[in-house]
Every structure is written in structure tokens, then in C-alpha cells.
Symmetry: C2
Subunit: 352 residues, 2 copies
């Protein structure tokens, strides 16, 4: 069965020079995939021609006349650029022409346009951003929310836990993934009021056998791999994610500098190349590219803005896998089961 994914080819720091090579490379690995390339048609066709891929029957081009830049205010992305590649790619999902879409554009704009075009799922108050971090068990830790919601109440965190659980279950083939609630300590009495109230909701679900709630986890548990999922509000998630990215970058820079310091250490780098290569491979953020925007009426994936083609391909693969494993349908079922349905959750399109 063919699975179609739409690609916002103009998004991110590099545009078609990254998105199109990644798309071509991805197709070669997935015979079931078809990709719809969205953007300025001339640019896309020129890039396809350059790469000798004009005739690939599993690649189609849909023209969009505008581009949402990294600096565009939400207003512009949402109200003015109605023919942006980002919006058109999302509309293809809404129209059922694609089963998921990928964009490396501005996160806030992507979330706002996705909410506006697709709307929030019934039963979900706020969509969340879920990404993957590597852990010591050499497995992924899924973490959400990573920045869509800076002020959360317990029922929001509760919904994030449910959505994360469905995503991990589908993507990783784990029947009952473990859920950790990010906190300042593991004891039940720890944390602020929102976290304590969330723990109560999750414990109730655990006792009913519908969720696998592990309990509170701390910051280091993300990398220990204590639980499959780590739930937090978007403020904490965003700050934590950027802090660990910052530390990883510093680590890499210091390592490079130190190995270049003398002929002896350069020799060390030469002999240790395999080790350093494996290190960078195991911890390479590229492998974890592709965050899910969860809780919308359609699948949207966000690539890192600065992703190269290697990294962007991972984001496409994640969108493809989510489509293949019917994440959207499973989310609908689980949410209908677990959450009281509100009449119309989509009163506004504002994000933070």
C-alpha cells in the first residue's frame, strides 16, 4: 500500500537544497512511499533536474507561491501568507491527499498554521510537541511537551501523557510504554501543585490499567532511559531540550579543540576515529530529528531548522512511520476512550 507524505520543501535554513536530496534518498529506501514536494515550482524542478530525479514517478510537485521565513511573526504566517509552502503542505493532509506532512519551518508558525488548518482533535485541549532524546540504554526517550504550551494545568499534562503513550506504542511497538512525570524528586510529595495533581490523574489511569504510569522522574532519568515517555509542560521541556543541546554542542567543540591541540592528541584522534565516530553516531541529534505535533486532526512533523539532508531524511522517515502505523487513528480511539469529549475544543488558534 502506498503512503503519501507532503513535504514543505521551502522550510528551514536551507530549503530545497536539503529537503529534495533527503526526499530522493528516502524514497530509495521505502518502496511504499510517495512524496509530494510543495514549494516554488521552478526552484523545486531545478533541484530535481540537478539531481536527475525529474522522472521519479513517486515524486510529485505542488506549487505554493509563498514561503514562511524563520523571522515571520505568527500573524504573517497565519493571516497573510495563505499560499505558503507550509500551509499548502498541511492542507494536503487535511484534504486526505497526504497522510502526514513534514516541515523544517519556524515551530511556532508550524503549530499555529497546523491548528488553524487541521484543528485540534476532539477531546484534546492543546496540541503538544513530542521529540526523542537518546538514552543510555541506546533506546529513544520520548519527551513532551517541548514548547507549545508554556502554562499548563494538570489535565493538559494528563493529555500529553496519553498522546505520548499512543505515539510510543505505535512507533516503537511497545504495548504498554512507561510514563514518567518530570519533577524535582521522585517522592510523591515533591513538586509543584500542577505536577502533584497530574500524578493523581495518571495514578488513577494506571490503576484502571489504561496507562503504564511509572511515577515521578528527574532530569537525569531522561538519559538513563528510566521510562519510555517523559511528560512535562512546554516551558520546562523547551528549556531542558535547549540546555542539553547546548551542552552537547559544547562537548563536541571541546572534544574537537582538545584533539587538535598537539601532534600526539591528533594521532589519538586518528586511531580513535572509530570510537569518536561511534560516539557521534550514537549521540548524533540527526538520528532523533523529527518532532511530532500531537493532538491535531492530522499528522504533522517538524524537522530541526538547521537540519542537513541526512538529518532531514530521519524526519521524513518518522512521518512515514507514524502514517504507516496509523498513529492518528490510534490517537483518536485512545482519546475517545480516556478523555471526556468537549463540544468544540477549537475556539482559538493561538499558540505560544
Amino acid at each position: 500500500m502506498t503512503i503519501k507524505i507532503s513535504i514543505d520543501c521551502m522550510g528551514g535554513d536551507h530549503g530545497p537544497s536539503v529537503t529534495i536530496p533527503a526526499a530522493i534518498k528516502f524514497l530509495a529506501t521505502q518502496p511504499e512511499a510517495e512524496l509530494i514536494l510543495v514549494g516554488l515550482e521552478d526552484e523545486l524542478r531545478a533541484e530535481l533536474k540537478k539531481l536527475g530525479a525529474e522522472a521519479n514517478p513517486r515524486l510529485s510537485v505542488v506549487h505554493a507561491s509563498e514561503v514562511v521565513t524563520m523571522d515571520d511573526p505568527l500573524e504573517v504566517a497565519l493571516r497573510r501568507k495563505k499560499d505558503s509552502s507550509m500551509r499548502v503542505a498541511i492542507e494536503l493532509v487535511k484534504e486526505g491527499k497526504a497522510k502526514a506532512c513534514v516541515s523544517a519551518g519556524n515551530t511556532a508558525a508550524l503549530m499555529a498554521v497546523s491548528r488553524y488548518v487541521l484543528k485540534t482533535m476532539p477531546g484534546v485541549d492543546r496540541p503538544a510537541i513530542c521529540s526523542i532524546l537518546p538514552n543510555q540504554k541506546d533506546k529513544p526517550t520520548y519527551m513532551l511537551d517541548l514548547g507549545a504550551n508554556v502554562d499548563c494545568e494538570a489535565h493538559h499534562l494528563h493529555q500529553f501523557a496519553i498522546m505520548g503513550s499512543v505515539l510510543v506504542s505505535a512507533m516503537e511497538g511497545i504495548a504498554r510504554p512507561t510514563i514518567g512525570l518530570l519533577n524535582v524528586g521522585t517522592e510523591e510529595i515533591k513538586g509543584n501543585e500542577v505536577v502533584k495533581a497530574t500524578a493523581k490523574l495518571l495514578r488513577a489511569d494506571h490503576e484502571r490499567g489504561v496507562l503504564n504510569f511509572y511515577g515521578n522522574v528527574e532530569g537525569n532519568d531522561i538519559f538513563k532511559g528510566t521510562t519510555d515517555i517523559v511528560v512535562c509542560d512546554g516551558f520546562v521541556g523547551n528549556v531542558t531540550l535547549k540546555a542539553v543541546e547546548g551542552l552537547a554542542r559544547m562537548f563536541k567543540n571541546v572534544l574537537t579543540t582538545e584533539f587538535k591541540r598537539s601532534p600526539l592528541t591528533m594521532l589519538g584522534a586518528l586511531f580513535g576515529r572509530g570510537a569518536l565516530g561511534n560516539l557521534s553516531k550514537r549521540l548524533n541529534p540527526s538520528r532523533y530529528n523529527g518532532a511530532s505535533l500531537l493532538g491535531l486532526r492530522g499528522l504533522v512533523f517538524k524537522s530541526h531548522g538547521g537540519a542537513d539532508a541526512y538529518s532531514y531524511e530521519f524526519a521524513i522517515k518518522r512521518a512515514f512511520d507514524a502514517a504507516k502505523y496509523n498513529v492518528q487513528e490510534q490517537l483518536s480511539t485512545m482519546i475517545a476512550e480516556l478523555m471526556p469529549r468537549t463540544p468544540d475544543p477549537e475556539e482559538s488558534v493561538s499558540t505560544t
Copy 2:
């Protein structure tokens, strides 16, 4: 001039076998220092004898019959163990017999006992924990609060910024250290209500020329070294600190595993030993051991519970420096100047 520091020798995972060797080593580097060793006298004297330091005139022993363990509930540390080494070490500061104290005991207990014995400074609502992280400029980033206050309002974060500024100014000799407010983006409109309100207070202080407010910073700015100080609430600070500690540990483990994988990579490690050594030295958390409990009527420093003697010595050094540079007096002056004095800020001793 002699500066006396009291040491809770029983605190931490290792007790006197770490704290006493560290104390002896520290004294050798600081002719101005005198250390008061607090704990079970027999154990302390046995350790001193073992190390041939019984006769050191700059080392004295004060007996305390009880020990606060890592698992003791706050109640026990606070109400029952009234003759604990932790409490006696803090009381020496209150009585003016020591100018600062150091403990590797349970953080929550240390904060609670410190608040109870020393009381909060006039004008300060809540003491905060301030620690140091390394940054790419090879300088320290001071970050607070790291866990004392999980629910904060703007005026709390504002006070943290003032206290952090005084600490950095005194410890690092920087006249007007830069203050960053940890947020999900750098633009003024970003963040939750508390952070936005805090930014207003800090901007007002900046305009009056009393604080050097840089603006919002993101998680990665901690390691870029964008500002000297990063201010956040204790929930965000604690989670972020533990997450980066977790990543650093994973990095170290993966590096070790990978370099041991084959004879070639082991050769790499051998030749690259200098580089790996420098790496670990530059990023070694030991160098940054010694968090300040700021906002009390006396100087208290917290060592990592698992610290070895090398690391514990850094904590003693930080307490000594803070005493030497009159951090407490400078805090009093600055706070009296900048904060409206509340009649009695010490209504309770509860911490989180």
C-alpha cells in the same frame, strides 16, 4: 586575617573519609584559613590521626552526636536531630564562630535547617540555591534557583537575580555581571506570565542602572556563556541541572565504552589521553562543586553528596572565597538598597 569555616564532616555519601582529607588539603593551599570540623569526635580524631594531622593548629574539632542521613525526612533533620553535625556547623555561623559553613548533606534538610537556625535575610522572601556550570568561554555560568522554590512569583525571581548579581560580582570580581532570564525564546513576548512580569522588574532595575539585565536567554545560552547569571524558578532549574548532569554522565560512559571497543580505539585513547584528560578537566563537575544557599543570615555552601575529596575541596574553597570577599555583607547592602523591607520574612521554615 584568619577566616574560619565550619565543616559538617559527617554529611554526604562518604563522611569523614572524604571531608577530612579535603579539609587538610585545602588548608595547605590557604594560609589564612582555619577549619572547624564538626561531627562524631572519635571518628574525626581517628581520621585526623590516620592522616597525621592531629596537631594542625588550624584544625579544630567540635563534637556533634547525631548525623542527618540522606534519607531522613525534613521533620527528623529539623525537629529531632538537634545535635546533628549539620545543625552544629550552621550554628557556628550563627554564633559568629565561623564565617561560612559547608555540608554535603541532603539539600532539602540543609536548606530547612539553615532557614531555621540562621533565618532569612531581611528583604528576602525565599532563599535560593545558586550553582555554577561551565560554559564555552571557559568561564562559569551562575544559575539560580536550582530547587529550593518550585512555585515562584515574579518578585521571587527578581530577588534571585539581585542575589546572583551580588554573588558573581564578589566571587568573580565583575563589577556589573550580566543577568539572563531563562525563557523559551529571546523575544520579549515569549514565556509565561511569571517570566514576563519578572522581565519588567529587571528592565526597570536595568534602566535605573542598578542591575545589568541582558534580557531573556534560552537553555543553550547557559553553555554559550551568554550571561554571567541565569535566573529561573527552582523547578526549571532543578530539572535542567539534573538533565545536563545526566547527559554528561551518558557522554562519559559512551566515550569510555567506545574507546575500549577495539585495540585500535584503545591506542587512540592512549595517544589522545592528554586530550581526553583536558576534556574531562574542562568539563569536570568537581571543579564546579559548591552551591551557595543565598538569602540567609549567614553563608552556607552545599557540596554534592557523592563528592570525592578532590571535589569537596572546591566546595570548601567556594565557602572560603565567599567569606573572604564579604558576600554576606554585600548582599545585605544591595538588598537593603533594592528591595522593600518586609517586617518579618521568616514566618515559616518550610522548603520544598
